[in-house]
Symmetry: C2
Subunit: 455 residues, 2 copies
């Protein structure tokens, strides 16, 4: 349980240079707990706390810091110490950190890191962003197939300290081809003389090193694995992706989706820490594009200036009619984008989606059209001017209905089209769809008005 | 790896009544793989496949079916068989299924289920939705503190078949109070004579049974746990939440957030399978509320009918000005809602957020205002009528600037206010914010117009 008194206590220990207390604290608490409390400390104070831990423990705690804090903290600690820390960090966290550092510094550091780790780092650094390789770790437990369970458990005892998880063990041939998996659970239950070969699961579910991290997360969620093996095209085991990295991926992807859909683009930084100018630039590019697109509402409306001149009441309903399209479009786009993200619908389902949303658009349109009809009939004569209230009610209700249907169809089809064009469907965001439907909605509204009213 | 030939092969085996082949298949493949292929089969065919597996294996495969298929498949299989299946299913999956069944049927079934399982079912059924208790399982491995590692491993060998995970073991006193945890990894590495008491981690991170599932997911993500103990208010261990359930929670919460933000409410079902009338109802309630709110744009515009009558050109810029507020509001609301979901900002940060968004709103407003100014100056004389182009440009640019600032502030503050009022901040969705800012935007626009133009 978190102890809210720990931070003041920690500061007191630091002030009093209570080495014994700090040593106890750094060994007894969970590394994540220590990392969390250190966020209340300056980087210098954090180093003072870490100094009381072994280098292994320092690396363990260090890996739980937010990546920004990690980058700040390694500035100026000296290459020697940094290379020791890097050697002890879990390979996936270590590479995340190295990717944020100056490439020149990384090149200076690598010769100082032990050879085995250096090879791992080069391998992981070379994996493209968002691939299975970019989130995998190279620390895993492996066994040959022809040994006994007793031998296997003995070998694991020596491998274990270097493995992020030993609960799934990978069975490899001499060329490191992945032959099967066996769980620690199964090894413990088996007779000591059983061969690993006879125990292992041969139907191995694995991912390719270049597979997208989102696909990896989906597979892990489907199979409920603690870890998933990552193989190269020749089925050599190159690493594993662990359950905790998958949670991070799911959260990261959900954030990206949410921001895209809200018309923010992708601002991955921490909200309060992100540099103002960068955020302004990202946000203003989006808003400016939408604004420029929205300028066409003026162009569209200008076509009907004479109609507004003749019947001012018509202009009063413009925002109502076009926002209907925006809202129904946002709704449909959100539903479809999310269903695609969950794997409930695919591009090939476009025809089913179209039929479904066509019916839904009509049903929703009738509902809103009915409300619009009532409102239009109730408009006071003083506002209407020369317009017949029943004609106006017909115009409003039909325009609302058709724009609602149109918004629904556009909102449903755009994400599928984007996907087809290789664009992330999330870009069919609420503001994007709304802007598109605003412009076309004006044309629909005045076309329908022209059928019932003379101007 | 998935074998695309398996489904036809499966059908052939069924047609030929190849009992040996089916038995082999149901034992050798991963339960999730069999469940996935069964989705291409009718429920009857699926039962024919399952018939060749042991009841334990049937329950294991069954738990991987989508919940809708589970509900369909248990219809009419007979209470006797169903109670056997329920006994063997993992406790958390079993309760998910029971919650979907007719409560009367559940009451009929419970007496047929073994007593220990019955107690578990009653406990889990009583946990409120979205609580830690609703996603926990009651199968976990536990040990007393005063035994040796050798004894502990022997005990685990007998407990193991009934535990969803034995990789974290919970150390309990005689009253089942949670004293500490020890990992299987640590037990295997330790000397056989060591006492569990001396090995266990006493700083136990646990969750309360009534804690929100989102909080549980956050804690699991922070500590990278495979499983997290769930305790009652007196610190008795009541269950564990496992890593796979947490991934499901994260995906579920992301879906709910996305749907709320897109103005869909919460439609949890599979997009193509959800009943039309239900989805129509949920969608139309949202759209109707937004539509009724949007009716105020008419009321607001009607106040300025005389202005539009005098200067028709003013009406042409209405959609442009108000949509600016909607877009900037959506953007701010999305950023803030997501930052709150990620735990980057909290209610208490409202003042920092307000200052930040005030500056950002001004910066964004100036950008859009400049574009608006250019566009307004370029308006042809024929459209402008009696309006001075420079005055119009001043009106448009100032209105766009102030509405953009207003939209940004409203979008940023609404999620924080909602949270304060105990409403999910996600309801400050893009359409909701846009509608609110549309109405107020009209008032701002015409107020500014009144300062520069006479009507």
């Amino acid at each position: 349980m978190l102890n809210p008194l720990l931070l003041p206590e920690l500061r007191e220990m630091l002030a009093e240079r209570d080495a014994a207390g700090l040593r106890e604290l750094t060994t007894e608490l969970h590394a994540a707990t220590i990392a969390e409390f250190s966020e209340g400390l300056t980087n210098e104070e954090t180093w003072q706390v870490l100094d009381h831990a072994t280098i292994e423990r320092q690396a363990e705690i260090f890996a739980y810091f937010p990546i920004e804090k990690q980058v700040e903290m390694v500035q100026g600690i000296g290459k020697e110490r940094m290379s020791r820390l890097l050697e002890e960090m879990p390979p996936d966290n270590r590479v995340d950190l190295l990717k944020r550092l100056d490439p020149e510094l990384v090149e200076d550091l690598l010769p100082l890191v032990a050879k085995a780790e250096r090879h791992d780092i080069r391998l992981l650094l070379s994996c493209p962003e968002h691939s299975a390789g970019s989130i995998m770790t190279t620390e895993y437990a492996s066994l040959p197939e022809d040994i006994s369970v007793a031998d296997a458990l003995n070998r694991l005892r020596t491998q274990a300290p270097h493995s992020e998880t030993i609960y799934y063990i990978y069975v490899l041939d001499v060329d490191r081809h992945l032959l099967g998996t066996v769980s620690l659970h199964e090894l413990i239950l088996a007779k000591p003389t059983t061969r690993v070969r006879d125990l292992m699961q041969r139907d191995v579910i694995s991912v390719r090193v270049d597979e997208d991290q989102e696909e990896v997360a989906k597979k892990m969620a489907r199979y409920d694995f603690i870890a998933m093996p990552v193989v190269d095209p020749d089925n050599h085991l190159v690493g594993i992706v662990t359950h905790d990295d998958v949670i991070d991926v799911v959260v990261e992807e959900a954030t990206e989706d949410a921001l895209r859909m809200g018309g923010v683009g992708t601002i991955v930084e921490h909200y309060l820490d992100a540099p103002f100018a960068r955020v302004w630039w990202k946000r203003s590019v989006w808003l400016s594009c939408l604004f420029i697109a929205e300028l066409f509402t003026f162009t569209a409306l200008a076509q009907f200036e004479h109609a507004i001149q003749a019947l001012v009441a018509l202009a009063l309903f413009v925002p109502l009619c076009i926002s209907t399209g925006g809202n129904s479009g946002s709704q449909a786009a959100t539903l479809i984008t999310r269903a695609m993200a969950l794997g409930h619908i695919h591009e090939r389902d476009w025809w089913r989606v179209l039929r479904h949303e066509l019916l839904m658009g009509v049903a929703l349109g009738l509902t809103l059209g009915a409300i619009g009809f009532l409102r239009a009939v109730l408009t006071p004569k003083s506002i209407l001017g020369p317009v017949n209230p029943w004609s106006l009610a017909l115009v409003i209700s039909q325009a609302v209905m058709i724009i609602c249907l149109w918004g629904t169809l556009v909102g449903a089809m755009l994400p599928l089209m984007f996907k087809r064009l290789g664009i992330d469907p999330g870009y069919a965001s609420s503001p994007f769809v709304a802007t598109f439907v605003d412009v076309t909605g004006i044309l629909i509204y005045f076309s329908i008005a022209g059928m019932y009213l003379t101007f």
